[in-house]
Amino acid sequence: MTVDELKPIIEALIYVSEEPISLKQLAAILEGESADDIQAAVEQLSAEFNSRGGGLEVRQLAGGYRITTRPELSEYVRRYLKSQPSARLSLAALETLAVIAYKQPITIPEILEIRGVTSTSAIKTLLDRRLIVARGHKPVVGRPMLYGTSKEFLIHFGLNDLSELPNLEDFEDLMTS
């Protein structure tokens, strides 16, 4: 293989590698190719990436190569990563949300009773993401806050109203199999 033929392969390998990929590792995969050619290809690839002025660069780290975003763009990357969690929920938050969805309106002590673990930070997350809302106080000792799902919850799960929440019967056939 020529150096030019090696470059795209090496680019793909650096891209998918979880750890910086070393020349030795590259040589092992590109069996039969000369170490010099591989090194030349990696160096050309780095130079091209870095002179292109794109959003990515090839960096030499911990004895290997890796593709990273350009440091100057970190603000945007951070902005993106910050915007991300809204789509995703931890298992604790998901469990809490499921309990609230099916048992609403419900208080924090009642959720604790069902889940067996405290859910305060999960509740905070869910409130932050507007998936649940406070629904007033329960008229019992301590007047704990009642929680229920929000309109955003319905939108997120594509429901018209709460009666569309699946129940045990809906999935009965599926669960037994």
């Binding site: 929920l89 931890s90 469990e95 949300l97």
Partner: protein, 265 residues
């Protein structure tokens, strides 16, 4: 259900049972029919007949033969196959009926029409499934970047309604398991209460039920004492005596049990 991965050619998704050499192979191939429509399509192709003009008698005969073979080879023949057999026989008899020359167009309708429609639909979805399969294979050749630390900070799950439901079910199942453990614990306490009452009756002849209940630290303990007393009455180990209505109840040991309990202590 057969996994497509067991097939050698990734592009080939058709069920193609041929006349196989060994019965085992035959068995495997027969069980590849997803359902009655699959089997019918296979027969139509094998007989090289037109799907729009199916020789119903011939195809029915073959279809029944395959069902028999499946039964002989001990392949469970699903109910759907039998329903289709009935449909085929019904169509066959309708075809044999003489046509009324005065019948309206609607009455003249080909009895095979609905089946043909179903077969065509099924065929279309099989074709679509094939394309999907090929697309998935192509797609699997393109790799995305490795996960980054930022992703790992976020070891979380994106959610679907089914997942929400499954999670809820898991929580409820878990809770049920905990409740069962608690019930088991309660039973132990009741055994303890029985032993306590027995011990008290060994040291003093009479025990006041009121004093017994007053010792209870919680509602639950009170219920347990009550249940323990009932259990002892049932086992004929104690006798209850009430001297006045609304008065205190006295618990005494039954004579016959006395010597026995003395041994135990």
């Amino acid at each position: 259900m057969k996994e497509a991965s067991q097939q050698t050619d990734p592009g080939l998704l058709e069920a193609q049972p041929d006349f196989a050499e060994s019965s085992d192979q035959y068995k495997v191939k027969l069980s590849m029919f997803e359902g009655p429509l699959d089997l019918l399509l296979f027969l139509i192709r094998k007989e090289e007949v037109s799907i729009y003009d199916i020789p119903i008698a011939r195809i029915t005969e073959q279809y029944l033969e395959y069902l028999r073979a499946m039964q002989e080879l001990d392949i469970g023949v699903a109910g759907e196959f039998l329903v289709m057999a009935a449909t085929l026989i019904h169509i066959k008899t309708q075809m044999l009926l003489p046509r009324d020359p005065n019948a309206s167009d609607e009455e003249m309708e080909d009895p095979r029409k609905e089946l043909v429609y179903q077969l065509l639909e099924h065929q279309k979805f099989k074709g679509a499934a094939n394309v999907l399969h090929q697309r998935a294979m192509m797609e699997a050749a393109a790799f995305t970047r490795a996960s980054m630390d930022e992703d790992k900070d976020n070891p979380e799950v994106a959610t679907t309604l089914f997942q929400l439901f499954e999670v809820f079910k898991e929580v409820m199942d878990r809770r049920r398991a905990i409740t069962e453990i608690e019930i088991a614990r309660d039973e132990m306490t009741m055994a303890e209460k029985i032993a306590e009452i027995k011990l008290m009756l060994n040291t003093s002849e009479k025990v006041s039920a009121r004093s017994l209940f007053e010792r209870a630290a919680s509602r639950r303990e009170m219920v347990l004492i009550f249940l323990a007393v009932l259990e002892l009455v049932k086992e004929l180990q104690i006798r209850l005596k009430q001297s006045a209505i609304f008065g205190d109840i006295t618990i005494t040991k039954r004579e016959i049990e006395q010597s026995d309990s003395d041994h135990k202590i």
